[in-house]
């Protein structure tokens, strides 16, 4: 997957969790949590969706790497390179 595809994947997963999520003003380097009003339970859903869709096992200690959109892309890029 390209970086753009990964970004779309994350946004699609978030949209699926919260259909009202507003991406218009989303800044890639700032925490998703604050900008989109996501809580830790919603974060767990992002992890679970990645597992369901792409068989990715993300260990709990890596969750902080998913904090912002750009850190998500950085973290997932090597993991999704063959997809």
């Amino acid at each position: 997957m390209t970086r753009d595809e990964i970004k779309d994947l994350i946004l699609e997963i978030i949209k699926d969790i919260d259909e009202d999520a507003d991406f218009n003003t989303l800044q890639s380097d700032l925490p998703l949590r604050d900008q989109l009003d996501l809580d830790s339970m919603d974060f767990l859903d992002i992890v679970m969706e990645l597992r369901k869709r792409h068989k990715l096992q993300i260990p709990e200690e890596d969750y902080p790497q998913l904090a912002s959109l750009s850190s998500c892309v950085n973290y997932l890029e090597p993991l999704l390179k063959n997809i």
């Binding site: 009202d20 009003d37 339970m41 919603d42 679970m48 369901k52």
Partner: protein, 462 residues
């Protein structure tokens, strides 16, 4: 037969846990001993009409746009669209201590605030500070029992106000006599006073049907009339369960929602610890009346929590029931409900399981006691809401024995054992506890319990 995830109990905690799991792995099976779902909050038919077994009001009301409210978080976790649900908010409720004081409250917290400042002027600033503490406190930490009553007595310094605030919160969510854990107090205060109460559109059956359909759409399975007799395990590892008819179902992980001791009774090792303290029993009566006598009874009150003693006693009574306090609910008094040909009054009082149990062998004595108690309940609440006995067209009463028979809850104790297993861990690698004895009580509470135990212990194993 083998399934990855097995859930014992199709009550609200089991259903919520099952939906949460099936969302990510459809290989989930619920085993429910009864012929329908819902457990304590189910329904039955009499005279061609539907009666709800346990719904007064659902707590934790939140409008759809309040994303971080517990109700909306719960819906997101279950992948239910909150906007698809039509909820009816309460009108207003009342804490009524006869010959002492009355406090009204609604889903607008300002009403309670205003009532307290006009009726307990000396306590207003302390009350406002208490509310700040409640808003800031994290009630989900697993800390040892801390008495809410002592805390309130210390901060409010007014025994009547303490009793009045505790009354609805204990009736709707305390498994402990005359008190509650401070964390549980915070949860219930937010759920009832800060968030508020509502009922779903239609009946609890419609709500349960939607949950069940949603679960089945994810591919989850359920078997009714399937009672677990034994949990098969080797040491701390559970392999599966055996049903009362001898069938064995293997599983990778097991979630029990039937209570701590009830679960231990299915295992052949000695329990982790014995539960202590008194289990609280209740009697609940339903009185159905024709619509034309609605006007002679309160139409602006949804629930009345009453007490007629100087001090509130929330404890197991010496006799069959304690009529000196209780709950009166008008299920027809919620906002924008369509008119119906009939309406109901429901009453709840504390009851003594052993006294009812001693009548169990004698059907006539048991039935006589039931109708006597229902009659006394009517005359007691008539003093608060006005006369209605002569108009009752149908009535039914559930005792702790009824609840024990239909849900297998030990001693028919709606709120289970007094001490709770907050983390859901009961000494097994792949068996966890959710629901009543995990500690989140009520409809929203039990659903959150199912979801949070799945999140903490089971999702990572998928």
């Amino acid at each position: 037969m083998h399934t990855s995830l097995l859930i014992i109990g199709g009550g609200l905690s089991g259903l919520a846990a099952a939906i949460r799991l099936a969302r990510f792995n459809p290989d989930v099976l619920i085993l429910e001993k009864h012929s329908r779902v819902g457990g304590l909050n189910s329904w039955y038919y009499r005279h061609n009409s539907l009666f709800e077994t346990g719904l007064h009001a659902i707590t934790n009301f939140a409008p759809p746009e309040d994303k971080n409210a517990p109700l909306n978080r719960l819906f997101r976790q279950l992948k239910l669209r909150r906007k698809d649900f039509d909820f009816h908010e309460q009108l207003a409720s009342e804490i009524c201590f006869t010959n002492q004081e009355t406090l009204r409250f609604s889903n607008d917290f300002d009403l309670l605030l205003h009532e307290i400042s006009s009726k307990f002027p000396g306590c207003t600033s302390q009350f406002i500070r208490l509310v700040e503490t409640i808003k800031e406190h994290d009630p989900f930490q697993t800390t040892p029992f801390r008495s809410a009553r002592s805390y309130l007595t210390g901060t409010l310094n007014n025994p009547l106000l303490v009793d009045m605030l505790l009354c609805p919160l204990m009736y709707y969510g305390s498994s402990v006599e005359n008190d509650m854990d401070f964390n549980q107090f915070v949860i219930m205060f937010r759920a009832i006073f800060l968030e508020g109460m509502f009922r779903p559109h239609g009946s609890i059956k419609d709500f349960l049907d939607r949950l069940l359909n949603h679960y089945q759409n994810f591919g989850g399975k359920i078997r009714m009339q399937a009672q677990v007799a034994k949990i098969i395990h080797q040491g701390n590892k559970v392999q599966g369960v055996e049903l009362t008819d001898g069938e064995v179902i293997e599983c990778d992980a097991l979630l029990s929602t039937i209570g701590l001791e009830e679960t231990f009774a299915c295992l052949d090792t000695p329990p982790l610890r014995k539960t202590q303290g008194v289990r609280l029993g209740f009697v609940e009566s339903i009185f159905r009346l024709p619509a034309d006598c609605r006007e002679s009874l309160p139409t602006d009150k949804t629930i009345i929590f009453y007490n007629s003693r100087e001090q509130l006693l929330y404890q197991r009574p010496q006799s069959l029931v304690d009529l000196a306090s209780g709950v009166i609910c008008f299920p027809a008094n919620f906002q924008s409900l369509a008119p119906q040909p009939h309406f109901e009054i429901r009453t709840t009082h504390l009851a003594n399981y052993s006294s009812w149990k001693s009548l169990a062998g004698d059907k006539t004595a048991y039935n006589t006691a039931k109708s006597t108690i229902a009659r006394q309940s009517k005359t007691t609440v008539e003093k608060i809401i006005g006369n209605f006995t002569q108009h009752v067209v149908y009535e039914d009463t559930f005792t702790p024995l009824t609840i024990e028979r239909f849900t297998a809850k030990k001693e028919g104790a709606i709120y289970g054992c007094p001490d709770k297993i907050k983390d859901g861990i009961i000494g097994y690698d792949n068996l966890f506890l959710a629901g009543t004895d995990q500690g989140f009580l009520g409809i929203v509470g039990s659903m959150l319990s199912g979801v949070s135990i799945v999140n903490q212990h089971i999702l990572s194993r998928l």
